[in-house]
Point group: C2
Chain length 142, copies 2
């Protein structure tokens, strides 16, 4: 079980946009060292999940769809990580657990605990904890 790079790309890009507080181009985000085209897909997921708003055409780009204190890590995680967490295949086999398989419920509960933890942190929280000297976030990209 692992968290994909999509989540990291998404969080970092949202932090960047939030800090700039203006419409940000895909090219600018990709300067973090992320594959531009791949990042584009991640940005589209975030747009579809209503975390970002995008505008196409000249002067287009991405802005937050709501304020940074209303965007949690859980929101981002749910937007980019698939929902295929666990599916008991009892139907397909002679399942040990009979018809009322509890395993699936237990794993879902555990996943919920995981999400609860992520829900505690907003983008605003993380930005306020940043060391402004070390972060390139504070500097304009040249």
């Amino acid at each position: 079980m692992r968290i994909s790079k999509k989540t990291e790309y998404a969080v970092h890009s949202i932090l960047y946009i939030s800090n700039k507080n203006r419409c940000v181009l895909l090219d600018e985000l990709a300067m973090q060292g992320i594959s531009r085209e791949y990042l584009a897909k991640v940005m589209r997921m975030l747009t579809k999940s209503k975390i970002l708003k995008s505008s196409v055409g000249v002067n287009g780009g991405y802005v937050l769809a709501r304020t940074a204190d209303m965007i949690t890590l859980e929101d981002i995680f749910n937007a980019v990580e698939g929902e295929n967490f666990y599916k008991c295949e009892a139907e397909a086999r002679r399942c040990v657990l009979g018809e009322d398989c509890r395993l699936s419920a237990i794993f879902q509960d555990a996943r919920e605990k995981f999400l609860e933890e992520l829900r505690k942190y907003t983008i605003a929280d993380i930005i306020s904890g940043l060391d402004s000297e070390l972060s390139w976030l504070k500097a304009e990209v040249t």
Copy 2:
């Protein structure tokens, strides 16, 4: 982020062994409909993690290495799911979060919450909750 079939195979096999309370053959476990050779690899992981004890040769097979109430779902999960949960790639890029990346710590904490939940359930707990009528676990394999 998803849980692999290995975990399901492992839990179901351990439940079976625990209920039989004797040395169980790989072939018998594979009758659940699991690929025999693949299951063998999962069983080896469980053996290496000291959850099962295996004996080779005639009259060989698998037994629990400790009682069912001392085996939690967390034990099983850790035995079969890899440890590559999340690794911040900040070093490889101009990371938004500077040197003190909190993201990694947050995800580890969330994972810990996930494991805490799994830790609440032992094999004994799950077996005691089984509906004995519905479960093939109670019947001898013919």
